[in-house]
């Protein structure tokens, strides 16, 4: 969905010029450096970026958990600083870390969350039953949460965020730490709930495929600023194809190889970096054998050849000139 403004329907999220600095040990860290973004009602907005990019800080400010140094943020039409109570009524917030009590059962967690969000006792019980069913947790409803698997506990977290049918739901890294199967299940849940009741979902992630699968609109954040935004299709277009890397024996061979590669069909963006030859191809699996055959025919000896799928790293390299794979790999362990 494009962020075209529908007349009479205010944006669910509207953020202008957000700045937030942290002071730690005489060092001032600028977590947000003039961040702007908006989300239309009913859309899924994906906030993408490496650890420390400012995704969580943004979400915490929008959820009234932190205050900006300057800038304006409105959620569901309410200013987060002037009307925090109204914002809290409108939102559900699922933190990066588990939001449930491990020594309570799934049902107890949902009923307590519902009642604290203003549902009556019977309403909260009925809603708990409904959500337990929807998230496939009926059988585990009366077990303590500490006995849940990672995927079950995370689904319960999302259910807790949904208990009062919020207008805007914040999901901070909903699948970090989950195994591929649990991740796929979570994706299905998020995709199905996004279509309902005109709820706006703001999702932070450092997985490009996750944002791709779920978000109507992506905002890539780095160093507290928006680097690029658009629909997943728009971003993918810019990232078309696979990376091809060929390693030669010396610089001279690499230079000759570059000339050969330039003439190979379906291989583009050829660059040379010392003994390394880099290129892009719409389909690496098709282009690589052709490229290797052409190099062989020219009498150029190849040491190693590799294909790489486009990654978030590539978008970053393209738009920020730096990689964040190191930061991202740190985050997997966190």
């Amino acid at each position: 969905m494009h962020p075209t403004h529908v007349v009479g329907s205010p944006a669910a999220i509207e953020v202008t010029g957000l700045v937030k600095t942290y002071r730690s040990r005489r060092r001032v860290v600028r977590a947000l450096d003039g961040l702007d973004l908006s989300a239309a009602p009913g859309a899924v907005l994906g906030l993408l970026g490496p650890n420390g990019a400012g995704k969580s800080t943004t979400v915490r400010i929008l959820a009234t958990l932190s205050t900006p140094d300057s800038g304006v943020a409105r959620v569901a039409g309410h200013d987060v600083l002037r009307e925090p109570g109204a914002v809290r009524r409108a939102i559900g917030y699922v933190a990066q870390r588990p939001v449930t009590e491990p020594m309570d059962t799934g049902r107890e967690n949902l009923v307590l969350a519902g009642r604290l969000q203003g549902l009556s006792g019977p309403e909260a019980h009925a809603r708990a039953v409904e959500l337990l069913g929807r998230f496939g947790l009926e059988d585990a409803a009366d077990r303590l949460v500490r006995t849940y698997s990672g995927g079950m506990a995370r689904r319960l977290d999302v259910a807790v965020g949904l208990v009062h049918r919020p207008q805007v739901l914040f999901l901070d890294e909903p699948t970090t730490g989950l195994d591929p199967h649990a991740r796929a299940e979570m994706w299905a849940e998020i995709a199905s709930m996004a279509g309902e009741e005109g709820m706006t979902v703001v999702l932070t992630t450092h997985y490009l495929d996750e944002a791709d699968a779920l978000a109507d609109r992506l905002v890539i954040v780095d160093h507290g600023r928006v680097v690029i935004q658009g629909t997943p299709d728009e971003l993918k277009d810019r990232l078309q194809g696979d990376g091809v890397t060929v390693s030669l024996h010396d610089d001279d061979a690499a230079a000759r190889a570059a000339e050969v590669a330039d003439r190979v069909p379906h291989v583009g963006e050829v660059t040379r970096d010392g003994r390394l030859l880099r290129a892009r191809a719409a389909s690496g699996a098709t282009a690589l054998p052709v490229l290797l055959a052409a190099l062989d025919a020219a009498g150029i000896d190849v040491r190693e050849a590799r294909l790489s799928r486009p990654s978030l790293d590539d978008v970053y390299r393209q738009h920020t000139g730096r990689t964040f794979s190191a930061a991202a790999s740190e985050e997997v362990g966190a």
């Binding site: 917030y93 933190a95 009590e101 307590l112 604290l116």
Partner: protein, 266 residues
């Protein structure tokens, strides 16, 4: 206001489930005071014979056994040492995303505090009755009747709320379990020794007696010991309970403000 009460009850229920599911903590918290009562009580049995001990500390206390003297002190120690860990619940909620989830919801913040204070008070009242029961079985006899018992329970309740509010405030400001261990070792333990819990302060250094007069823990001990004595000085008992009430109000207000500091840091 009804929101605060409803939320307070709901969150107290959550705390109660937590204690019921791991009762070993509440039971373990009883071991130490019973050791104080039975071992310390035996070790220092003869201190009551020191001239001037407990004279006029509640008229007619002459002839009081040391066990009878320290029993109210041990009840308050149980309450204080237990409530010092109230902030642990907050720290655990912060380590998970529970605190953030609650603060981003419509949950009442005063209710979050009060629920923790109320639940620790309920546990401390039960533990206090166990301590007094064991003291009675060991031969201690208390006077003061129903009014004395109620005043003692009120002192337990107020002291627990005061200490729990301080502990929660520490948790919100420092956001770590280590800070609570520091609170327990560097603040709570000295409060116990700067009081008449195990020793008549008139027989201690003058400065200790002076410090005790400003020590909320000592207010609770003095109120309970007075209320359980043969001829209670009700003016003194109610005065100390009044001071404790004021301390509870002030620390609860400060702890509520600590939520803001927690959010600014976030």
């Amino acid at each position: 206001m009804t929101g605060v009460v409803t939320h307070g009850l709901l969150l107290t229920g959550r705390a109660a489930r937590g204690t019921m599911r791991i009762p070993v903590f509440a039971v373990m918290n009883l071991v130490q005071p019973l050791l104080w009562l039975l071992l310390f009580g035996q070790l220092f049995r003869k201190v009551v014979e020191i001239p001037g001990f407990a004279d006029g500390a509640g008229a007619g206390t002459t002839g009081t056994s040391y066990l009878e003297f320290i029993a109210p002190g041990v009840v308050m120690m149980t309450a204080m040492f237990g409530a010092a860990w109230a902030g642990t619940g907050f720290v655990q909620d912060m380590e998970r995303g529970v605190m953030d989830r609650l603060l981003a919801s419509q949950a009442s913040r005063p209710a979050m505090l009060v629920a923790s204070m109320v639940w620790y008070a309920v546990v401390a009242l039960a533990q206090g009755l166990v301590v007094l029961g064991v003291a009675w079985l060991s031969g201690a006899r208390f006077s003061g009747g129903t009014a004395g018992a109620l005043a003692t329970l009120a002192a337990v309740l107020l002291l627990t709320c005061f200490v729990a509010a301080v502990s929660n405030m520490f948790a919100l400001l420092a956001r770590s379990q280590e800070a609570l261990i520091g609170l327990s070792q560097l603040v709570i333990l000295p409060l116990m020794f700067l009081s008449s819990a195990v020793m008549d302060t008139r027989l201690a250094a003058d400065w200790v007696a002076t410090a005790a007069r400003f020590n909320p823990f000592d207010w609770a001990v003095v109120a309970a010991r007075g209320a359980l004595s043969v001829q209670p000085d009700w003016g003194e008992v109610l005065g100390r309970l009044g001071l404790l009430t004021a301390a509870v109000v002030v620390t609860t207000a400060l702890a509520t403000r600590a939520f803001r500091s927690y959010q600014r840091a976030g």
